[in-house]
């Protein structure tokens, strides 16, 4: 459904020194810089798959989404989406995709949402029956029926985002690009959008690419993630595997029985060859342990401390991803 091979995109832009002197100099001679937003990325996405694209600001996520939606042209490489080259922008391709950008309104600000939707009905040539049923389904699911006749610019951010989602999905696209759809929304609105996306996906099965800085979006919605750093993919695989692959440690947390532990005294130190104590007081001890030493470390804890409860946790996915984004993990 989506096939990307060695895709590259560079942007050339001019820079200007600060101050009047810099402005005067720029009048006669411009300094140009080139940013390589994508450095030869390749991927394949199957029908119905939802892929989370994760990376720091400026990593190249939005550039990749814009390329696949046909908004920008690549510097080199190839991509096929539904059998089309996106940046050729033929109408058959555009009728089958949708792009929702959390940071950029695409609806007409001066118009009520319903007028926008009616215009989109004509633009996408949606049959009247399908339009009515889609609109009913989407407005009910997102609970915005009462706001249909309000001008877009008068809606709250959350309501506007819901309208953007409806506008993008009215024509039942086969590929949906979601670029930070929950950015700036409060927790309730974020959850509503996430729930809606999950429900929509299970009912309509479009392929989806989601970019987000909120790990909850990624964890709730995506089984597969692609981590992008400085225009290159550093991980492309199941979200569930990321801990096994990159987290060499687990965290053992023991809740201590305060009275018994008091009788035992401060206790002997935890064997350093089994792990590193990262926190300790009379009620709790937290130890970072290599994966293969977890059974021995747990046993040592149970024998040496008055353990009331023991938890073995993976290092948080968010922490691993953050490390991958920032080049701490290889």
């Amino acid at each position: 459904m989506i096939e990307v091979v060695d895709l590259r995109k560079s942007f050339r832009f001019h820079s200007k020194e600060a101050g009047l002197k810099g402005s005067m100099r720029a009048l006669f001679r411009r300094q140009w810089q080139t940013k390589h937003a994508l450095n030869g990325v390749s991927m394949h996405i199957s029908p119905g798959e939802i892929v989370g694209l994760v990376g720091a600001n400026g990593a190249g996520k939005t550039t990749l989404v814009k390329l696949l939606a046909g908004i920008v042209h690549p510097t080199s490489g190839s991509a096929r989406v539904l059998g089309h080259t996106p940046w050729e922008r033929n109408n058959q391709f555009r009728r089958q995709i949708a792009l929702i950008m959390g940071q950029k309104a695409q609806l007409w600000w001066d118009l009520p949402a319903e007028d926008c939707f009616l215009l989109l009905k004509e633009i996408y040539r949606i049959p009247s029956d399908q339009f009515r049923s889609s609109l009913e389904e989407l407005t009910s699911a997102l609970d915005v029926k009462k706001q249909l006749n309000v001008q877009i610019r008068r809606l709250s951010l959350g309501e506007r985002m819901k309208m953007e989602l409806i506008a993008a999905l009215l024509h039942q696209p086969k590929v949906v690009f979601l670029d930070e759809p929950t950015i700036g929304l409060d927790l309730t609105a974020q959850k509503a959008i996430r729930d809606f996306i999950l429900r929509y996906r299970s009912e309509h099965k479009p392929a989806m690419i989601l970019t987000s800085h909120y790990m909850e979006d990624i964890e709730r919605l995506c089984k597969r993630i692609v981590i992008i750093r400085e225009g290159e993919f550093v991980y492309d695989g199941p979200l569930a595997n990321i801990s096994n692959k990159y987290a060499s440690h687990k965290i053992l947390t023991a809740k201590l029985n305060r009275e018994k532990q008091g009788a035992l005294g401060a206790g002997e130190g935890f064997p350093t060859e089994l792990g590193e104590v990262v926190f300790r007081d009379l009620e709790q001890i937290k130890i970072k342990v290599e994966r293969d030493k977890v059974p021995k470390a747990a046993s040592a804890l149970l024998q040496g401390f008055a353990v009331a409860d023991l938890m073995i946790e993976e290092v948080g996915i968010a922490d691993i991803i953050e490390s991958l984004q920032n080049e701490k993990v290889r």
């Binding site: 046909g70 920008v72 109408n91 009728r95 118009l111 633009i123 996408y124």
Partner: protein, 270 residues
């Protein structure tokens, strides 16, 4: 294949948008017409009084007032009414929506512009009626129902050419951050060379010969002459043919600039 189903909707929506800003709509309309007509009245009153002539270059004082009435109101059918929108959309990145939707961008923008021009036609008819009621029709001009209809038709054709020129210039925003100076220059120079500020009959012969090489006399002055009933069938056919050629040329230029420009578009902005 060109699809038309969306056009009436875009037209209707743009019409409603234009009317919904009622205060701006009326203030802009009244201020522009009143200001331009007042300036023309006092300027030409003084010229005719000082000169002592009954007519100048074939215009009586009464006739010249109607020239400026058509210049002021007719130009709204020709010159792009919302200049700067396309360049702003490129600059701010809101152009993205038009790249996503399966419709031709320039056609969409032209249909949106047509809605505003329908309002301009209604304004013209209203003001013309008011002027005829106040001053009666000038004896030295052949203003009639058919001349006004021909003027509206010719102005609409000229409006297409002007739109394509404006759009091509606005799309320079794909390369440059600001294109306002280009648009202002075309509006000012075009207005001067096209006879909006001064009928081209008042230009020296050599000046008229030079400006014939630009599209502005056909685009701006010619429709005004149609309104005034000064154009015969043969002359109209020749000028309409010239406009048609300009329409084809400017369409190709605008389409080429769009095709090249969108290759540079990055979709970034505010």
């Amino acid at each position: 294949m060109i699809e038309f189903a969306w056009m009436p909707h875009v037209f209707s929506i743009e019409l409603r948008k234009a009317i919904s800003y009622r205060a701006q709509f009326w203030i802009r309309f009244v201020l522009q017409v009143v200001t331009e007509m007042t300036a023309a009245y006092f300027l030409w009153r003084a010229i005719f009084d000082n000169n002592g002539a009954q007519t100048l270059q074939g215009y009586s004082f009464h006739g010249i007032l109607f020239y400026y009435l058509f210049s002021s109101l007719g130009s709204k059918l020709i010159q792009t009414l919302n200049e700067g929108i396309i360049s702003r959309e490129i600059y701010t990145g809101t152009l993205t929506r038009y790249l996503l939707y399966p419709l031709p961008f320039l056609a969409y923008k032209f249909v949106a512009e047509l809605a505003k021009r329908l309002i301009a036609i209604l304004q013209l008819i209203f003001c013309l009626g008011l002027a005829i009621w106040m001053w009666s029709l000038p004896a030295d001009q052949n203003i009639s129902f058919s001349s006004v209809a021909l003027g509206i038709f010719t102005a609409s054709l000229a409006g297409y050419v002007y739109f394509m020129i404006s759009a091509a210039l606005e799309m320079v925003a794909f390369w440059q951050d600001t294109v306002w100076n280009l648009l202002a220059m075309v509006r000012f120079v075009g207005g001067l060379l096209g006879g909006l500020m001064l009928p081209i009959e008042f230009f020296p012969t050599w000046g008229r010969a030079i400006i014939r090489f630009t599209p502005f006399p056909s685009m701006l002055s010619f429709p005004i002459h149609c309104f005034l009933g000064q154009v015969g069938a043969h002359e109209w056919f020749l000028e309409a043919r010239t406009l048609l050629v300009w329409a084809i040329v400017t369409t190709f230029i605008a389409a080429w600039v769009w095709s090249r420009g969108t290759r540079r578009y990055s979709g970034v902005g505010i």
